[in-house]
Subunit: 544 residues, 2 copies
């Protein structure tokens, strides 16, 4: 990624805070010009700054400094290291605000003292003092100037232990993240951003920082992700300060309280505290489990989601539903716990098995049908690009799907309202029957695709969706290579029984979400059994 909106970068900070060194390195990394304003003034006048102060006074120097700033701002993208007193001049502040971002570098008084002593060049303000007196002087000057440094858009602590290039990278990444335009899931004080890009794994620490996370991380994933996307995981861990990682065995059977307990034990053994952050990297199971573990570890710590499957990108990354299965049913134990951020790197989809991609696509189409006719039409026109995983198309469908789910969830965070989140169950009531009849071997997303075909047919036979739109509905699913037929054994009575056992079927009422038009779905309660039977037949082929 490149900085496009940021025009100039100005560094401020106390003496020995590293603003010249880090400023120059930042410029080099970006391929931009670098200026030290003090040095420019000295070159221009042929005098040292103390000379200018002595001969012409501070006002004259500030004028020279401002002129210099104007000139370099006009020179295109550049990085400037400011003098210690530049920000005393309100005109300079205005110029800087207009022309770029101001970055403040901080260092502790002790670090400053050590650096000053280490360097040979003299610091006139500290001349002739012993170390304790120097430290006192540094502290009082720092306190005095703090209000100026607080003008900075961003402040960074320059630690001795951090190599310069790592520190520089951190600054540039923070600015890059600032330029991104995430999708926000609006949930009041629990609102969070979804960042969507080709590969954002390098930026996770900066995104975490921006969202106010503490800086102690654990990556949580599973063996499948470790096998298929090992290098991405390494990238993540490196970006997060070489943090440790925990891997579950993969698969739905592992989604239980025992696995949660294993992670919690590991976290405690590793010494993680309430100031730690879990980073869930994987599909829906990893996300659900990690989010749940985060919600109950030390009574709740933050977590960040890095979904790696299309389904988890468009489904579980929005909504805050976390949890595990119970022997008596799926997702019966859990919590609503919103992530601090979701970070989607679309590159992860390259290693995704085709069947899993299709399962995610079914949910994408679902969003269009339940809420967004325009999106449906876009999918019709771009079905090939979507089927071929064109990067631009992926960006579009993921963002739009998340936006639709975010809008639905924002109105009904805790799923209290039948007309709220329930609409997201389009295709799910029929789909549940297919999953159940296959003993959960048939993938959820594909079962939903079949379920949508049934629900659209049901809507048609109830006189809601026109025959033409039912055809159009199914045609889009066809073009995206979504399944047409349920080829496992089908038993109508068992299918009905499975639908009644669906936990979403409350108190004997059977609720189907059906489109009343392409782009608007509504609940229908207890439709005629004949119509439901007929609807099943549309995907049964020879079995029907």
């Amino acid at each position: 990624m490149k900085l496009t909106k940021t025009r100039n970068i100005f560094f401020t900070g106390f003496m020995a805070s590293g603003k010249s060194r880090i400023g120059a390195l930042t410029a080099a990394s970006l391929g931009w010009k670098f200026f030290d304003t003090d040095k420019l003034v000295e070159e221009k006048t042929g005098k040292t700054i103390p000379q200018i102060f002595a001969e012409q006074g501070e006002a004259a120097f500030r004028k020279l400094e401002l002129e210099t700033l104007r000139e370099i701002c006009a020179s295109g993208q550049m990085v400037a290291s400011l003098g210690g007193g530049t920000l005393l001049n309100p005109e300079a502040i205005e110029l800087i605000r207009k022309n770029g971002v101001l970055i403040g570098l901080r260092a502790s008084p002790e670090v400053i003292l050590e650096r000053v002593n280490r360097k040979k060049e003299s610091r006139p303000l500290l001349a002739d003092l012993d170390d304790p007196a120097k430290l006192e002087k540094i502290k009082s000057m720092l306190a005095e100037r703090q209000p100026l440094y607080d003008l900075a858009n961003f402040q960074f602590e320059s630690e001795e232990s951090l190599p310069h290039h790592v520190f520089t990278r951190r600054i540039i990444h923070r600015l890059l993240v600032e330029e991104l335009d995430p999708l926000w899931v609006e949930l009041g004080e629990r609102r969070y951003p979804i960042y969507i890009g080709e590969d954002l794994s390098d930026y996770i620490d900066s995104i975490a920082e921006k969202t106010g996370c503490p800086q102690s991380f654990a990556v949580v994933s599973d063996q499948n992700v470790q096998d298929a996307q090992g290098s991405m995981l390494e990238h993540l861990r490196t970006a997060l300060g070489n943090c440790p990682a925990f891997y579950w065995k993969s698969g739905e059977p592992e989604k239980n309280l025992t696995s949660i307990q294993k992670l919690l034990t590991w976290l405690l053994r590793q010494g993680f505290s309430r100031k730690s952050v879990l980073v869930a990297c994987g599909g829906g199971v990893v996300g659900d489990m990690t989010g749940f573990a985060a919600s109950i570890f030390l009574r709740g710590i933050p977590f960040i989601q890095v979904p790696t499957t299309l389904l988890s990108m468009v489904d579980s990354s929005v909504g805050g539903k976390t949890g595990v299965n119970h022997p008596l049913g799926k997702n019966l134990i859990g919590a609503f716990h919103q992530p601090r951020a979701v970070i989607i790197s679309l590159n992860s989809l390259k290693t995704l098995p085709r069947e899993q991609y299709l399962a995610g696509l079914a949910e994408v189409v679902k969003y269009a049908i339940i809420r967004d006719m325009e999106f449906f039409a876009w999918l019709e026109q771009n079905a090939d690009a979507v089927a071929q995983q064109d990067m631009g198309a992926l960006q579009y469908i993921v963002r739009r799907s998340c936006a639709i789910k975010a809008a639905v969830v924002g109105n009904d965070e805790r799923e209290m309202d039948e007309r709220g989140r329930a609409v997201l169950n389009y295709g799910h009531t029929f789909g549940h029957a297919f999953e159940n009849l296959s003993e959960y071997r048939y993938p959820h997303g594909l079962a939903v695709a079949l379920g949508m075909r049934c629900a659209a047919r049901l809507s048609g036979s109830l006189g809601m969706l026109s025959a033409q739109d039912v055809i159009r509905h199914d045609a889009l699913l066809d073009r995206l290579n979504l399944p047409r037929h349920f080829s496992n054994a089908f038993d109508m009575d068992k299918a009905f029984e499975a639908m009644s056992r669906d936990k979403k079927a409350s108190s004997g009422r059977r609720v189907f979400i059906v489109p009343k038009s392409l782009g608007e779905a509504v609940p229908v309660v207890n439709p005629p059994e004949d119509a439901v039977r007929d609807a099943f037949k549309v995907v049964l082929g020879d079995h029907g």
Copy 2:
């Protein structure tokens, strides 16, 4: 309990909603007079109501009715059943509002039809109609009058299956609960009331109703409570519609994720849903575990706390901390989950072992010392009444303690601020050492009492608390029979080690909460080790 604030009760409702029958029963239960306004008018005029309507018109009838209402309102506490059209008269509404509460009885159109058909007396409005036509007429009249019934302060559904006396009891209890003055824990949308009384177990259903809980309950408790307070548990279960109950084995070793899983499995087997409420009846362990189970069952259901120990009444009933232990430490797994209501029946304390009462008292004194000089002085003056469990004294100390904790928690719900909830740890850092050295056999509350003695001494030697106040501090603990000496084996090095392992000691800093005066505690970070050693000695007696 008796109704004291409610002066008169007026029943309104559609024909056959039961307002005369239930009204008369309510009056009989309360020992109040009962009036049927229609009948009073008929008696007074010697005419039937249709006659009055025919001869004098509706306006004249409404005037007679209003006069009658005025007369009965003046007659002291009474129950009145209103005529079908009384509320059509704005003057009548005003009179009712001023003089008492208006209760609306509801019944479904089908129930009304059945009752009308069952009774012999004619209903002129429904004369000459067949059943389907009657039902339609009832429905349309109900819809028309609904705005009038909605004027009621409370509405109750009169179900056929509910015996009259149970229904009447429900109405009276609801009014009684309305007269109670709970303490509110102010946490925005999670605010909840704490009800404190001698015996509130009969009122739990009405309190649950008032706080908006769904009406499906499970009582959760443990074997100790079952043994010591079996009849109270039966009362609770009866009041909650004979709901089922689940019992854990008692004791800290049971406080783990496996016990939670057992309860969740039982809840699922019993068919509990997201519309269920858990009622935690017991001490701190039962409360912590039930609250945690409620927070993760089907992603969170409501719970009500019925604490039975003094410690749980004044400590865990405020704050929303729920959770279980992990083999690596106490309370490491959990959630913040606020109860819908806390219901404290002080009678429960009668069967409480003396040691557990003292453990609770230690926390009570703690609240006074950290926040409330006036409360401290009250405790000095009423120490004997408190030690003897005088009911008035109990009411006072429980309410005041909860109020102090509520004020502290309200400012820092999630324990993010060192100067927030941390002050509640007065006596806990030293106390933790005593608990640890006794391998957790020494009760928490008593360890806190010893810890407070140490912390007061530490404060004294740091020049904060005056010598006189240290004496006064300890004298109150003495008068309440709280322990003076730690009689187990004591090892100073191990004590220091235990304090560092306290999870509240973050990153090597040892934080002690100490009183800077009686009534105000503050944190002190890393006090001199010598002073801490000396402070320990105050409770070591010969061992020191």
